[in-house]
Structures are given as C-alpha cells and as structure tokens.
C-alpha cells in the first residue's frame, strides 16, 4: 500500500465546497479520523525496505515466486508446516497431453519417462481434454487468472531432449496398515527370505511390495538391467509391455461396450427412444433377494435414504 497522504485538516463538510466534489460525492474517505502527521519508525523502515533491493526483488517476482524467509518452499515465514509443492508448468502439461493423445504413448511409459505419477498424468490428460473441448465450444477461458496463479507457484518443467529432474517419485507404495507393526520372525540362516515371504509374515493375504507397486514393469526393467542387459533394450521392452497392457484394457472396454450394444434393442418412437436390455430373470436367486437380480427387491431393505450412508454418486458414467 502506498503511504497515505495526510488529509487536509479542514473538516470533511468543507471539502465538498470544491466543485469537482459535487459531481462525485463519494470521493471522500470513509474514515473521519485525520491521518497521523508523522510516520512511525517501523513504518518508515518498512518503506525503506520496500524501496530497497530486497523489496523491489520481491515486488517484481521474475521467474517464479519469491518468499520472505530463507526457505524456497515456505511462503509464510511463521508457518513452517505450510510448504508449497511445485506444480507442472503449462508447457509440460501440454506435452503430456500431446504424448498420450496425439502420439498414443502408454500412460505408464509417459509417467516413467517424465517422472510424473501415473495418476497425475491421467488427471492432466483429462483436464486438458476438457480445456480443448471448451476451446472447441468457444467457451471463454480464464487465462490471465491461470497465468497469475501459476506465477505465484513453484513449478517443475520437462523439456524434450534436455536433461530434466523428475517431478515426483513415480513408484511409491502405499504404506499398508498391516506393515506398520513390528515383527520378529525367526528364520533359518540358510533360507532365502524374499519380499513375498516378508509380506506373508505380516499377513496371509498380504501382497508383496512388487505386486503392490503401481509400476511393476519398472522394477522388472531395473532387474533386467542389473542382470546385464542394456538400458536401451530394457526400456524398449518396458515400453512395449506397458503399451500392450494399455491395449488390453482398451480392448476390454471396447468388448464390454459391444456386448452391451448387442444385448440392447433400440426402438425409436416419435417421442423417445426405448432401449430394451436383455437380462436374466434367474439372477435374483432362489430366495429372490440376491443383489445381482433385476429390479426392486422384495423383502430386502433398500437403504438409499438411510442416515450415515453416502448419497452422492461415487462414480461417473
């Protein structure tokens, strides 16, 4: 805020005698208290600091945010718990969208290459798709707002053909509650104690770390490299494996849609289209109360309005 100019000591009513004041009657300040004639020492120091090198650097904010304290990720010097996490910059998000949608690369491959979590990759692609759709529809985007927000945040970037730092670790494993206990498992010295055995020790149905990893293909790739294969070969193999996996998922979704379509008869009338879907009446089971059955169930409670149950939909079509 610029220093407040000391108001004339004349009463406020007299100020309105000035002819310009009549055209805009609300120009006067809201406070009727006259300003202090002298600035306090602290205030003087504040303006000195603002005019000095540090203050001007903070105000200009070129190339990302600048925080008051010595730390790079702590926006509020008195709140050490609030750490500002870097976000992907605009070009990187555009690149992710281009790689996934235009070049058809697998999500996992893009994630591993760019060092971005696979869920974040998927989210970026979804949001970019929405943005492109809005552009096609001619919706106005709040780009100046987005730019202003992005200027206030620390960013990570990925440029193709350059050496880049990863945005985040991509193969982090969820810490399962069962693995938080301290265990002492006596094992004979001759026994080869693997990760599978460790998981088994925690719980019978517990999966090993490799199985719970979001990108087991990456682990496999690194294992192959350790066994003596070249990184290039293993990387090609990794990309092929992820692409195949993604293709399988896409095929499964297409198959399901086709099966749905085959089971549906569409009858168009002059008002609405009637869609008849073939079902099996025997799905209700012997008692007629199975959840797989079609239609409202008889003799079974329907808890759609029960207290404490989530009413909002948990999935999108």
């Amino acid at each position: 805020m610029p220093p407040r100019l000391p108001a004339p000591l004349t009463p406020v009513v007299d100020a309105c005698v000035v002819p310009s004041c009549k055209s805009a009657p609300f120009v006067r300040s809201f406070s009727s208290t006259p300003c202090k004639q002298k600035m306090s020492r602290a205030r003087q120091q504040m303006y000195q600091w603002l005019k000095g090198r540090e203050g001007s650097e903070l105000a200009e904010a070129k190339g990302g945010p600048r925080y008051l304290g010595p730390l790079q990720d702590q926006p509020f010097p008195l709140n050490p718990l609030f750490r500002s996490q870097p976000v992907l910059d605009e070009q990187t998000r555009e690149l992710i969208w281009d790689k996934v949608i235009m070049r058809g690369e697998a999500l996992k491959a893009v994630s591993a290459e760019m060092g971005v979590d696979v869920r974040r990759v998927a989210a970026v692609v979804r949001l970019k798709e929405v943005e492109k759709q809005w552009e096609r529809e001619g919706k106005k985007l709040a780009i100046p707002y987005a730019k202003a927000v992005m200027n206030m945040l620390p960013k990570t970037s990925y440029r193709e053909g350059e050496k880049n730092l990863p945005h985040e670790p991509v193969n982090e494993i969820h810490v399962h509650k069962l693995t938080m206990q301290q265990l002492f498992v006596p094992v004979s010295e001759s026994r080869h104690f693997t990760r599978q055995d460790a998981a088994k020790a925690f719980h019978d149905t517990m999966l090993s770390v490799d199985a719970r990893s979001p990108q087991p293909e990456l682990i496999k790739m690194e294992r192959e490299i350790l066994q003596g294969k070249t990184r290039q070969d293993s990387l090609a193999k990794f990309k092929e494996a992820t692409q195949k996996e993604e293709d399988r998922v896409a095929q499964r979704i297409a198959r399901e849609a086709q099966r749905e379509e085959e089971a549906t008869t569409r009858v168009a009338t002059d008002r609405y289209e009637f869609r008849f879907k073939e079902i099996n009446a025997d799905d209700v089971g012997r008692t007629g109360r199975s959840r797989k059955g079609t239609g409202w169930r008889y003799g079974a409670p329907f808890d759609d309005r029960k207290r404490g149950l989530v009413k909002i939909p948990t999935s999108v079509p």
Binding site: I279, G288, G295, P317
Partner: protein, 114 residues
C-alpha cells in the same frame, strides 16, 4: 386364477420406477410376484455427455421368460402389452380411443319418407 403381466410401481414420490412382473391378477400391486421379468424406467433421460437433447427410456426385459409366460396364457395389461409389442413379442395394438368413423352424407332427394 388369472396370471397377468403387469407393472409394479416402486421408486419414490415423483420418481416412479416399475418392475415388470408376472403375478396373479388378484394380488396386491406391490406384493411378491411369481416372477420379475424386467424393469421399466418411465423417466426419459439423456445420454451422458450428450448435448443434442435426445432422450431415451431404459427397459430391462427377459424376453425368453416373457415369451414363455405369454405362451402359457398370461395376460398382459395395456401398458405391458405396449412394451412387449415394441420388441415383437406381441402384435402391435392401438390403445388410443378410436377415431369416429365419418358416415356418408345423406341426400335429401334419396330419402323417401312415407
């Protein structure tokens, strides 16, 4: 007793949802039927992510069972008939009131009055 193919109204107020049921004619509407052969959602809905404004109604039907029950003499109600005739299980039927037939006009010269 007569076996009917009819609708049983479920759902909530202002959001009806019907089970297409096979039941004895004299039992209550929502009592446990002989068999539930499908559902009928009478509220027209748009497809998700579709801005064209076209609406559709969803019906689930076990056509094999419907054919069987028709074959053994179950009598569909008018609404059930309308639905079953859409998929060709029953012939089409006109349920709206019949249009009045226009009779020929009478020529005064042709009429002989004793």
């Amino acid at each position: 007793m007569v076996v009917k193919i009819r609708l049983a109204r479920f759902g909530r107020r202002n959001s009806p949802f019907y089970n297409i049921v096979v039941a004895h004619a004299r039992t209550a509407r929502n009592s446990r039927p002989l068999e539930v052969i499908g559902t009928y959602d009478p509220i027209p809905k748009p497809d998700p992510y579709d801005n064209s404004g076209k609406l559709h109604k969803d019906i689930k039907l076990d056509s094999q069972r419907a054919k069987y029950w028709i074959g053994v003499g179950a009598q569909p109600t008018d609404t059930a008939w309308r639905l079953l005739s859409m998929v060709g299980i029953l012939p089409k039927k006109h349920f709206a009131p019949k249009e009045s037939e226009t009779k020929g006009s009478v020529n005064a010269g042709d009429v002989k009055i004793r």
